[in-house]
Each structure stands twice: as structure tokens, then as C-alpha cells.
Subunit: 273 residues, 2 copies
Amino acid sequence: MTIRIYRGDALVDGIEADDRGLAYGDGVFETMLVHQGRPVWWPEHWQRFELGARVLGIPVPDEATVHGECGRLLAGAAHAVLKIILTRGRGGRGYAATAGTIPTWILSRHDAPSPTPPEGVALQWCKTQLAVQPLLAGIKHCNRLEQVLARAECTDPDIFDGLMCDTDDRVISATSANLFARIDGGWLTPVIGRCGIAGVARDWLLRHLDRAREAELGRTDVENAEAIFLCNSVRGILPVRRLGDRQWPGDEAVDRVRRQLAIEQPAFSFEDS
Amino acid sequence: MTIRIYRGDALVDGIEADDRGLAYGDGVFETMLVHQGRPVWWPEHWQRFELGARVLGIPVPDEATVHGECGRLLAGAAHAVLKIILTRGRGGRGYAATAGTIPTWILSRHDAPSPTPPEGVALQWCKTQLAVQPLLAGIKHCNRLEQVLARAECTDPDIFDGLMCDTDDRVISATSANLFARIDGGWLTPVIGRCGIAGVARDWLLRHLDRAREAELGRTDVENAEAIFLCNSVRGILPVRRLGDRQWPGDEAVDRVRRQLAIEQPAFSFEDS
């Protein structure tokens, strides 16, 4: 892992202990796949990043500056992961932000994840529920204790991730991926207007899958689905072979859209995995 | 402000950029008043700190060690504020914590707040609502974007703080203080089992006020109350003179319990303020 930290436009040596990111999770982040030195889906990630910062009222650094610094950090990276965190910057004690605070942003380069098993991943249901908070829904903010607690439930090494419901028992997503379920031949993904994250891969799939739309889904809808898969912008499309006791065989439609994604974004090619 | 940072038992130079406190708000904190070099209500704060860390599954550093380090940091502080943050420590990318991660803890010493106006403070209602999340209710964790957004609504310099409701329109608290309202002669404070923080001053008041108990309160209950006040462990008891258009005169019962608190904890003495 390589990390660079900036305050405003200046490269700095470290994080200050009074950064509001640390005190309150007062920030947003993006995580993207890197292919041949370039972040995949940059415009889509930047758009969500800007939206999240606007919701929180944090000034966004200049896109060209950030993109240029990312390019320097990622030079020579054939296959990697880039994370960007933006926080409101330093602050005193108390929730009120000082006017004119200079935001902190952090770029980090990580190893690419290990390849997805071709037979698909196994999931479990998590007990930890997502609170309903429309004000923060969709954006990728840094208040992620619910995901941390849900992920900690997945102690079985065979389990790739856990599915989470909201406090009204609607299915929302995995801890770190969105969900699609094929029901009556159409692809449904949970509404994320009350909680959950508007995933970049999810958006791509809503545009490219046959008969794809948002819907409210319960646990039994998902368990009875003809096929399900996860998606995120680091791993692309992840076929699911098992959820608790429910098992699914491979699915031709899932394979087809995976190939389509790999053609459009070769970073997600899986033929060699 | 003076800050000391520790990783496990060791004093370290700074916060690592991959600290999970920064990435996910993955931590808890306490803020306490300091009087003549000593934190007020230390045992009560430590109890909530330990409970919060247990809920999040973060190992707590040794109490005597932390207390000793606080004593060194606070030497010579006649009147100040102490903040302790505990995070899960460093982590890679992703919500799963690595087993054996060494927690980070941060002590900071701040100036005491300016004295409370003797005529009481003015409040407003905030539009930002608190999500209902029983799993995290009561503890003082570091996911505080709701409070940050609510506090940012309070732009009128005459407004001391804002009152928040949950997403079901129950009144919960101010952004940084608990609330008591006298209704039919009894003191009621909102239930904090679904969201909100179990304040140390709130606990003291539940034990010391006449006919005090937890209750579900709506906005009109609060606006029609005979008297209301805020409390937290840095400022003690804050009489409220105004909430939106509703005004209250001074209240003898509030003054009485303020004097009682100042006798038990001279740190909260207000005779000279």
C-alpha cells in the first residue's frame, strides 16, 4: 500500500489527530479498480464523490488535480485498487465545522483482490441491519459502522460477504457490493433511497441488463430468485452459488453480462482467473 | 489544544492514514470536563467507553494506563476539557478487521467552554433526523454525520444548539446535549434505546431530579413543557429560555438542581460565570 495525503492542494506529511474524518467519520470515499495505470469508471466515481461531498457540505478539490495525482500514484500499476478519502479537514472539539476549513484528501494504492472463484461465491444473511436515513442514502460517506459490524458476523472463511436488510426488513445489499436478483425473468436490484450505496457497477448493470429495474425485495424474494449476483466496481460481477442453505447452479445470463462487462472494461476480464 | 497518540501501550508520533477511525468512523469517544487536573465523572465515562468498545468489538486499553496518561496531559489544568478517542487501529481496504489489530487511542486537552449565559440558551428544531439503529443507540461512537449536518443548520449566532427528532418524529436530544422537559410536574427525558446517546449528565439527573423518568416525547410535548433544559458532561445543566418562538422564564427547579450539581461537582459551579 502506498499513501499520499493532501491538505487543499498541498502534499503533506501526515494526518492530523484533530481531523474530523477521524473524530466523526466526516467525509466521503471512493474505491476503484485500476487497469494499466488508469482508474476504471473515473467519471462515474467522481460524480458520486462530488455528490456525496455536496450532501455533506465539504468543498471538493479540483478534479484535474486529483486525477493527475492519482496518475502519478498509479504509474506502472498493471492491476491495482485506488482509494480516495475526502474529509472536512481539521477541526476543534464539537460538531460545528469552522468556516474555511481546508479539506484533507488521501490517495492510497492497494493490491488488486484475488480472482473471484469461477463457480461463484457463498453468502450469508447478516443480523446487523441498516438504519433508514434518506439524507445519507446513496452516497459513499465514511460512517460505516453498520458495515463493519455486519462484516464481522461473517466468520466462516467460506463466506465471501453477507447480505444486509434495513430495519424494516427490506433487503438492501451486501456489506461491500450491490445485489441483483432475477425474478420472473427480470433483474431486480434493491431501492437505495432509504439506505445503501448507489454503486457505480450497479448503475452500469441497470443500463445493460435485460429488464433491469429497482424494486423493494424481501428475504424470500431473494431466496426464491432464479439467480442472484453481487456487483461492485472493484470486482465487477460476482456470481453467487449459495446463500445460506439455498444453492444456485451457474447461470447463462450472468455469464453473458460478465462477458459484456469484460469487453467494455477489460479490467474486469476474468478469462485468466 | 495538546494531543497525545498511542498505539496499544506505546506513545506514537502520529495517526496512520490507514487508521480505521478515519476510514469508517470505526471507534468511540468520550468528552469530559476537567477540574483542577482531574476529569469529572471519570468512572461513569469509562463505563460508557468500555460498553461502546465492547459493542464494536474493539479491545479497550488498560484503564489505569489511560487514566495515568490523562493525568500527565492534564497537569496544571485548572479548568479544561479532555477528549479520548479509541479506534480499531490500522486496517487495509475493506470492512473486515484484521485479527490482532492494535487499537489507536488519542488524548486531547482543550480549553474549557465559555460560561453559559445565566438567562439560558436559545434552541431551534433541526430538519436533520436521527436514524433508528438500536444496535448503536446509547454509545458514543464516531459515526456522527447526523450531528454534523444538524449542527450545520444552526447558522444563527444566537442559537446555542438544535433539537433533533428521529425519523419517526420522536424528540431525542440536542446535537451535543441531552434534553429534559418538565410536564405535569415530572421531569421527562427522551428514551435513547433506538438512537441518541446515554449521557453521563443525563444519568446523574435521572437519579437526582424529582420524579424524573424516560419517556417518548413529541415536538408539541416539548414546546408545551413547563420548563426544559439541556445537559451534558462538559457544561452541566443548561437552562433553555427559548425554542423557536416558544419562550420560558427562569425556573426555580432548574436553578435548584444546578446548585445541587455544583455542590456535588464543583467543576460545574456557575456562581462566577
